[in-house]
């Protein structure tokens, strides 16, 4: 055990990319879990999943176009899809979840197809794999990407704090909010954009197939134990940060894939919280 800590310490002190990974990981975890509470409560958990596949498709397009900095393009496409998805979710001719399924699967398939047909990069399989499962991409960020991640996370956090009360109101009861004159659709739009940004960020951390876990696990765990929106939000933020740090550390020391390790830690935490929730619930009842 002490050996593992030594190793971890050495990695952290020796390799700047490990420090970047920890910083970016913490920020992404924080953002995704805060918004995760709202997504879970609004029954939007599946949208995160759909958007992550869209982001993958966008990445494929960026790769085909041979863009050196693919982030802006991915961000644009994902944000637009998020807005469209939330729009159709409301007054849909096709059911909301079906729309998401159609879009996400198509994006995934076309993305992979494009990358295979126009494969030019020598590191193609690595790109695809790391985007899907997030094996090492958090550890191979360029300095520019690190700063972009930090800036975007800061914006997301600021938006969340400033709109916290409105987000609560719209999440709890959209009809009431609109009836009393809250511009609910504007806040939904903001939420959609923020979600898209988080998805694109989180793709680096856990890969697009595992993003949903990062978004919903901490929120679900916190909801098991805590009773107010504020405490649930705070707890899910802290929980997510702790799990992510732990996950990154375990994966670099023991050589496990980063994304799946983080999700596994989240899952364990969820189990613990579920037990605590059941226990405290039974005591009260």
């Amino acid at each position: 055990m002490a050996d593992a800590f030594d190793k971890l310490y050495t990695y952290i002190t020796q390799f700047p990319f490990v420090r970047y990974a920890l910083i970016v990981g913490v920020l992404i975890a924080l953002c995704s879990s805060l918004l995760g509470v709202t997504l879970v409560l609004k029954r939007f958990s599946f949208i995160g999943d759909g958007l992550s596949h869209v982001a993958f498709g966008a990445m494929a397009i960026a790769a085909v176009l041979k863009l050196t900095n693919s982030m802006p393009l991915i961000l644009c496409i994902t944000v637009i899809s998020a807005i469209l998805l939330l729009r159709t979710g409301k007054n849909a001719k096709i059911k909301g979840d079906a729309t998401v399924a159609v879009i996400s699967v198509s994006a995934l398939a076309i993305g992979y197809l494009l990358m295979n047909i126009f494969s030019s990069s020598t590191n193609l399989s690595g790109d695809v794999c790391t985007t899907l499962f997030g094996s090492t991409s958090i550890l191979t960020l360029t300095t520019a990407e690190v700063w972009l991640c930090i800036a975007l996370s800061a914006i997301v956090l600021a938006v969340f704090v400033l709109f916290y009360n409105k987000v609560f109101c719209v999440t709890f009861d959209e009809d009431f909010a609109r009836a009393t004159g809250v511009k609910a659709s504007a806040y939904n739009l903001i939420l959609a954009v923020v979600i898209a940004v988080i998805i694109v960020l989180a793709m680096n951390l856990v890969g697009s197939l595992l993003i949903s876990a990062l978004v919903i696990f901490p929120a679900l765990s916190a909801m098991r134990v805590f009773k107010s929106f504020k405490s649930v939000t705070v707890c899910s933020g802290i929980l997510s940060v702790v799990c992510t740090l732990l996950g990154i550390c375990i994966s670099i020391v023991y050589g496990t894939p980063v994304g799946s390790t983080i999700v596994a830690v989240d899952l364990v935490a969820f189990g613990i919280f579920m037990v605590i929730g059941n226990f405290s619930g039974r005591v009260k009842a």
Binding site: K42, R178, T180
Partner: protein
């Protein structure tokens, strides 16, 4: 001038009208009950009055002094709320959301008013409790306290007693009646429960196959004379 006047109002969804050409007006301080069978369009009418869905045709004229921020609304419970982790205090405060405008946080006076409304609804002891752990009646009182934070003049209630036991329902009616008498709040309420609700109302709007709008006395007379609501219920039942 009436607080709210409907002229040939046809509420409905997607251009398909559910109710045809309603004409009625609500005065300041009125207590109006909206009754009618299930599926007759009561909730749709209320959502139209609130501006949540556009009317198919016709118009609603609001009194000039009546702004959006002065209307409170007590909607029916949604699925989302059943397992929502939120404390009573948080929910009541969220009634002020529209009043925040661009400010991010609630002011001290808003918190003060929220506290008063919590007391008024007899929720002081439950203030920190989680909403989803409360009984049906307590939950409705929380939502009523929230509606009071949003409303200064008008309160619209959509079946406030559905799913409540008789004692809780009685308590709810009492609270609403008090708001009408003591605070001069205008009440527009949808209800199933003809007898106890109509006991307090000044005016009744009956919608369905036949539409009636008038004072409680007139409505009761008509009920006795024709078995108006009962036959209506049987047709659609």
């Amino acid at each position: 001038m009436a607080l709210l006047t409907c002229k040939d109002l046809c509420p409905g969804y997607d251009g398909r009208e559910i109710l045809h050409a309603l004409n009625f007006s609500v005065e300041q301080g009125d207590y109006v009950c909206i009754v009618g069978e299930n599926g007759s369009g009561k909730s749709t009418l209320m959502k139209t009055l609130l501006g949540l869905i556009p009317a198919v045709s016709g118009e609603i004229i609001y009194d000039e002094g009546l702004q959006k921020g002065q209307i409170g609304y007590l909607p029916q419970q949604t699925d989302v709320q059943k397992d929502f982790p939120a404390s009573v205090k948080e929910i009541v405060l969220s009634g002020f959301c529209a009043g925040l405008k661009l400010r991010p946080f609630y002011s001290r006076s808003q918190k003060q008013i929220a506290q008063e409304n919590i007391e008024k609804m007899g929720l002081t002891k439950l203030k920190k409790r989680c909403y989803r752990e409360l009984s049906g009646g307590q939950q409705q009182r929380v939502l009523l306290a929230r509606a009071l934070c949003a409303a200064q003049k008008v309160l619209l209630l959509d079946e406030p007693v559905s799913g409540l036991d008789p004692a809780a329902a009685e308590n709810m009616y009492e609270l609403v009646g008090k708001l009408n008498k003591d605070d001069g709040m205008t009440i527009i309420m949808i209800t199933h429960d003809l007898h106890s609700a109509i006991g307090q109302a000044d005016k009744v709007l009956h919608i369905g196959e036949k539409v009636f709008f008038g004072s409680r006395g007139q409505y009761l007379e008509m009920l006795d004379a024709k078995g108006f609501s009962k036959s209506g219920g049987a047709e659609n039942g």
